[in-house]
Structures are given as C-alpha cells and as structure tokens.
Symmetry: C2
Subunit: 94 residues, 2 copies
C-alpha cells in the first residue's frame, strides 16, 4: 500500500474532527469523563483495530487518550489510517 | 501521601522484574505475543487501576506496552506506585 500525499492526507482529515497530520502520522487527543470512559472507548477501538489488522500507537493517562496512526510498512499515512480514524470517529461520536 | 526517597524506590523495584526509576516515575516495558495479548493484559491492569484509584500512564503499539507510574498529587513515586507495580507483576507473570 502506497503512502498518501500530504495534500490527500490533509483533505481526508478535514472530514474528521480533531485530527492533525505531522511527523508522518495522523494524531488526535480525546478527553473523556474519567478513566472508565476512556478505557471503554479503547476497548471498542481495540476490537476494530484487530478486525482491520491495523493497530494504533496510543497513550492513555486517566481520562486522556492520544492516538497516532501510520502505516509502518508503507513509511507513512495510507488509506488504512484514514479508514481507522474514520472508524474511531464513528465509534466514539456517532 | 509522601513521595518515597530515591533509595527507597530503588530498593523497592529491586524486588520487581524490569522496572526502572527515572524522571520522577517508575517505568517498565513489556513485550507480548501480539496485540490481543497486550490489550488483554491492559484490560486486567485497567480493572486493578480503577479498583486502586491509581492509574498508569501507558503507551501501547501492537505487542508493546510501556507503563509509567507516579503519584501526581505527591509529585513523585509513592507507596501507591510500588503497590500498583507489584499488582501488575502479579497479574502478568504469576
């Protein structure tokens, strides 16, 4: 899978809420009510990540969750990352 | 709760496997077989963290898990962190 061009990535994340592109990955930060809400969201994302065979780099502390997506094999952001970001948005905010 | 002294922390983590003390927190890295194993471990830790009302800062990517423990209110490592590290070790390796 080929990495997307910068313009393609920036156009794609305009359709999402709260994602930024830098350092060859797309990133978001989400704040939840508390740890249980944050970890519940992580669990839902984990199942989707496993199903898509595409896993985030993510950091959690209490109610904060930071997620970075990139496709290591491709050396950048691919359509798989855009799909995973879209899945996360759908899971959490729809 | 008072932060522990450097010597107390270093003595306490000698009884644990793979923990280091630096930057005012204790840290470990654990490698699992795959994402499912890593996230299963995180889930077990999450329930304990919630029960102890003491939450890690942790980063996961695929089969890798990095955990940092400190007590923000105390500005350092306290007995709560040693207890959580011990809990994690017991959960995962015993």
């Amino acid at each position: 899978m080929e990495p997307l061009q910068k313009e393609e990535i920036e156009k794609a994340i305009q359709n999402l809420d709260g994602w930024e592109y830098n350092e060859n990955a797309i990133h978001t930060k989400i704040e939840f009510k508390n740890f249980k809400e944050a970890f519940s969201a992580m669990t839902r994302i984990a199942f989707e990540a496993e199903a898509q065979a595409h896993h985030p780099e993510w950091t959690n502390v209490y109610n904060q969750l930071e997620i970075s997506l990139s496709t290591h094999d491709a050396g950048g952001v691919t359509q798989k990352d855009i799909e995973m970001a879209t899945t996360i948005e759908t899971l959490l905010f729809n």
